[in-house]
């Protein structure tokens, strides 16, 4: 009883505090609140939409909206003025499939007597009912990075396996805001399966997809009949997974299907043809050869901002045989082709957008420049960042261009967007201004000394999060390393020697092998180093690629 009274008291107290805070909120002792919600960008070159620009223009922004764009505008008295004399202004970029700020739901516990041939949906990676926003955090550092790269709106996608959940539309605005534009904007699907249960491969995944979809249609029919008639009709069994398909069945939202290569895209189109849903295909890395099929199907295309490594050009081929040299030339040609996919889609008349999933925010401009060098028009690149995704997501009425009445989402650069020297100076997202250091203080590449020492790593694999250390040392000029990993065959840790260590001052790669149930598995690690941070991927043949990050332990040597 006493305890309950106490609780009540605390509640009342905290309510009072809350109230008092509110009532005296005119005084901001935190110093955090912005002074004004009104801004004016003056005398800038404004690209109102791809291909259209106004020079020496002024933009008036107020409380999250663009109030006016043009020459000779009156600047409101309460406006914070951003002198745009040498700046270029674009609409804020829109990302159609982002994992930034999304955490992976905890793996569902598998019961000991689980039948792997018929697992519960959650165990099989089938959770279409989940809302990604439950796992999304606007204050996550990844979002800061993507905002810094010019993005202000993203369709966030859930993490998981074949049907991880529903996507949502968010804005990268103030950290105190909810930043939600729309929930349940699409049903996210991937060619990923949970380990050791049905469906375990693409074969099972395709069959399961057909079955889920048809059962959702039947369930919908049944539920409608029950609603209409009731009398004499069996109660439809509640099934959240199937009900999550209803919006797709009714054509209200599309399936947002991640498909990287041509064969995967064809599999998506195959399902679409059989089942008839609307589809947005994301993370696309090739497929311009399928242009006609894509058009016929009415599928929408979202290219990955991740481009392949230019391994081929680094290979030393002087001593190679003629045959190897010819094969090498084909790899180079394939690499070129990969870079020109965007241009090929543009030439085929397929409007596409971009997806950040799997890409690094720091590489965005370098990669888009590569696409432009390989034939994509600058206008097309800007459209892919702004108007195309806005159309695709059905939000062009309020964003995607710099026009009166649109949301105050802007990118301000020091030079025209796709020129080599352009730096982002400001990003305005949801009416909030973020300023960046645009000076050209490019840190030069470091040397081997940079990596010597102990690194703490974290990696995400289907087996869960694992942590451990990687240690690099130098012995008579030779770089050596070892990694401590969780023993895959049971508790405890094992130490493995690193092989093929390469460090070029920026990129670091190495391999090591582990024994899993008597089988040797080779793990390739590759990534980039900046200061004491290493960001990269682990890849294992036949299993996939998983994120791997490491931080160097402070070196106390003087």
């Amino acid at each position: 009883m006493i305890k309950r009274q106490n609780t009540l008291m605390y509640l009342v107290l905290s309510f009072c505090l809350l109230f008092s805070n509110h009532s005296f909120s005119q005084s901001d002792n935190s110093g955090q609140r912005r002074i004004t919600g009104t801004y004016a960008v003056t005398n800038a070159t404004v690209f109102t939409q791809p291909g259209k620009s106004i020079s020496s223009a002024t933009i008036i922004l107020k409380d999250g909206l663009i109030k006016a764009v043009g020459n000779d505008l009156n600047i409101p008295i309460d406006a914070q003025v951003i002198k745009g004399d040498s700046l270029f202004v674009y609409a804020g970029f829109i990302d159609v499939a982002s994992e930034a700020g999304v955490s992976k739901p905890e793996d569902v516990k598998r019961s000991d007597d689980m039948d792997p041939s018929d697992p519960r949906n959650e165990v099989a990676g089938i959770t279409p009912e989940r809302e990604v926003l439950q796992y999304w955090d606007v204050n996550n550092g990844e979002i800061t990075n993507w905002r810094k790269a010019g993005f202000s709106i993203a369709q966030v996608v859930p993490k998981g396996e074949m049907l991880p959940g529903q996507t949502a539309l968010v804005v990268y605005g103030d950290k105190e805001s909810s930043n939600i534009l729309a929930e349940s904007t699409g049903l996210y699907a991937q060619f990923e399966t949970a380990r050791g249960v049905y469906p375990g491969t693409t074969l099972g995944l395709m069959a399961k997809w057909r079955e889920l979809y048809k059962n959702a249609q039947l369930k919908y029919e049944h539920a409608s009949l029950f609603k209409e008639k009731g009398n004499g009709i069996n109660r439809p069994e509640k099934d959240p997974s199937l009900e999550a398909f209803y919006k797709v069945i009714n054509g209200q939202v599309p399936v947002v299907f991640e498909a990287e290569d041509e064969l995967e895209i064809r599999r998506v189109l195959r399902l679409k043809k059989e089942l008839g849903f609307d589809v947005v295909i994301t993370g696309v890395k090739e497929g311009s050869k399928l242009a006609e099929d894509i058009k016929d199907a009415g599928a929408k295309i979202v290219l990955s901002l991740d481009l392949p490594d230019n391994k081929a050009s680094k290979a030393k081929m002087e001593d190679a045989t003629e045959e190897a040299k010819k094969a090498h030339e084909r790899v180079i040609a394939a690499y070129k082709e990969a870079l020109s996919e965007a241009a090929s889609f543009e030439a085929a008349g397929i409007p596409f957008a971009f997806s950040s999933k799997g890409a690094k925010s720091g590489d965005v401009f370098k990669n888009i420049q590569s696409m432009i060098e390989n034939g994509l028009s600058e206008e097309g690149a800007l459209a892919a960042l702004t108007t195309n995704p806005a159309n695709m997501l059905g939000i062009s009425s309020f964003t995607g261009t710099v026009e009166k009445g649109k949301l105050a989402n802007l990118v301000l650069t020091t030079d025209s967007l796709f020129s080599k020297d352009a730096k982002i100076k400001y990003v305005m997202a949801d009416g909030y201004l973020f300023e960046y250091e645009a000076s050209k203080s490019k840190k030069k590449n470091g040397d081997v000394e940079d990596i010597l020492g102990v690194w703490n790593y974290t990696s995400e694999t289907p087996g869960g999060t694992s942590k451990g250390t990687v240690t690099f040392s130098q012995k008579s000029g030779n770089l050596k390393g070892e990694i401590v990993v969780d023993d895959p065959d049971g508790g405890g840790k094992v130490t493995r020697q690193l092989e093929n260590i390469h460090y070029d001052g920026k990129e670091l790669s190495y391999t090591f092998s582990i024994i899993v149930q008597g089988q040797e598995i080779v793990v390739n690690t590759k990534g980039t180093l900046s200061g004491n941070e290493f960001e990269g991927n682990l890849s294992i043949r036949d299993m996939g690629t998983f994120p791997f990050t490491a931080t160097k332990e402070p070196d106390f040597k003087l």
Partner: protein, 459 residues
């Protein structure tokens, strides 16, 4: 008027496009060859004319209209394209090893037209292959019959659309290892495999009935019927019971072969082919009487316990007992020289040329239900042909040209070092897997098998 022109134009374009969507059909006249028809004897110095993909005429001194390519095959041998009734080539996934019955899965979903192995098979005269699910499950997935039209980017161009549906079953050590020992679920023994199949069929009967009774009343006035759950697995099994799908069953031992014959007879299923069938010779009369035949290895044996009792005379014994017999590869390597494999039956069992050739042509065609289209050189059949420099059953034989639907897909004179269609932008060399066998029948099951490493051969 202008509008009308546009409409006409779009119709023309549309028509052209749908034509384009068809697989290519060619015209060719092959002259003066020794034609091994397989079904109608050997014809010396004979011409074969293919028009629009179909064998139009077989005879002497045929002439072709102007533009048709003419090939002089004097001194050479022409045989029908080789058909492999058991392959896992050009499939991205082989096993969905997660359940003892996976009848719902379809190999058509994972066909990879870029697999350079297709070209290598063509270079060995193979034009048609049956792409099967692996042998991890008692009832595996639905197979895909492919015509190796190499060069396309579209997997569907490789499908042989005329072919009936087929499905993979597997008996014995593989399914019991994967599910019984690997995951401690049924089937753990050969009895369990039988029970799995019988239960599956029985469930399918109930399933079929549930849908039939729903469909019979749902459109009636004031019907209160609600739809049963859709189950693609049971639906597929029901299709087998309805005779819509041919079973190809991985099997070794005579007892289990006879077991499945009995199971199928109990359920009224007669579209049944056994594959591997090392002990088939022990039940040859039963195979002849109740099945669509046996597809065997020429001489593979002893790679696991259930294949110790084997003989290289198997194919010949089956053949002489009137079993429709074929020799298959189950290997991306053997598929390149099935003519050698067929020739072994002349060393072991003394089969005639025609019998030996039928093992890799018309007989596998019968087992796949495509013998009205391919498998022999007959007027009206599809123009799938191979030109050899020597008799294909000679050890010196080398395929010279391979045609599918009258289109040339392999020519030894135009053979380049690098015949890949597609190259990875980052892989410097094409990965080479030294243990090719491990890649196939039991591919992808390692995760389920504690003792996987202890077994080397996995067919």
């Amino acid at each position: 008027m202008k509008k009308f022109t546009y409409i006409m134009l779009s119709i023309v374009l549309f028509g052209a496009k749908s034509l384009y969507a068809q697989t290519p059909k060619g015209d060719v006249l092959i002259q003066n060859a020794t034609v091994l028809t397989v079904t109608q004897g050997t014809l010396e110095e004979t011409d074969v004319l293919v028009e629009d993909g179909i064998i139009k005429k077989i005879g002497k001194d045929l002439s072709a209209s102007g533009s048709i390519e003419t090939i002089d095959a004097t001194g050479k041998f022409l045989m029908p394209g080789i058909i492999d009734a058991h392959s896992h080539l050009a499939l991205d996934v082989v096993n969905e090893a997660s359940a003892p019955i996976t009848a719902q899965v379809s190999m058509a979903d994972v066909v990879n037209p870029f697999d350079v192995g297709i070209y290598r098979a063509l270079a060995g005269g193979t034009t048609v292959a049956h792409g099967l699910h692996g042998s991890a499950n008692a009832i595996g997935g639905q197979s895909i019959t492919m015509k190796f039209r190499y060069g396309t980017y579209n997997p569907e161009d490789i499908f042989m659309k005329e072919a009936p549906r087929t499905i993979k079953f597997a008996l014995g050590e593989n399914p019991t290892r994967v599910h019984g020992r690997g995951k401690n679920i049924q089937p753990r023994t050969r009895m369990g495999v039988e029970a799995i199949i019988r239960n599956g069929f029985a469930e399918a009967q109930q399933y079929k009935k549930a849908w039939e009774s729903y469909n019979s009343v749902k459109d009636k006035k004031n019907s209160t019927a609600t739809p049963p759950t859709y189950d693609l697995r049971l639906q597929t099994l029901a299709d087998i019971l309805d005779g819509k799908i041919i079973i190809h069953c991985h099997s070794y031992r005579a007892d289990e072969i006879y077991m499945l014959i009995n199971v199928c007879r109990d359920f009224g299923v007669d579209k049944l082919v056994f594959t591997h069938v090392n002990e088939g010779f022990k039940v040859a009369p039963e195979l002849a009487k109740y099945t669509m035949g046996a597809s065997v290895f020429s001489d593979w044996w002893a790679y696991k316990f259930e294949v110790y009792y084997s003989t290289a005379y198997n194919a010949a014994i089956l053949m002489e007992n009137d079993v429709i017999t074929s020799i298959n590869s189950d290997s991306d390597e053997l598929i390149r020289h099935l003519y050698h494999e067929a020739a072994k039956t002349q060393r072991y069992g003394g089969l005639t040329d025609e019998q030996a050739l039928s093992l890799i042509t018309i007989n596998p065609a019968k087992q796949l239900g495509i013998d009205e289209f391919v498998g022999s050189i007959e007027e009206g059949k599809q123009g799938d042909l191979v030109i050899f420099d020597h008799h294909p059953l000679s050890v010196y034989a080398v395929p010279q040209m391979t045609f599918i639907d009258g289109v040339k897909y392999f020519d030894i004179n135009e053979d380049e070092d690098d015949q890949r269609i597609k190259v990875s932008p980052t892989e410097m060399v094409e990965p080479v897997y030294l243990k090719a066998e491990d890649e196939r029948c039991m591919h992808g099951v390692e995760l389920f098998m504690q003792e996987a490493a202890a077994f080397n051969h996995t067919h």
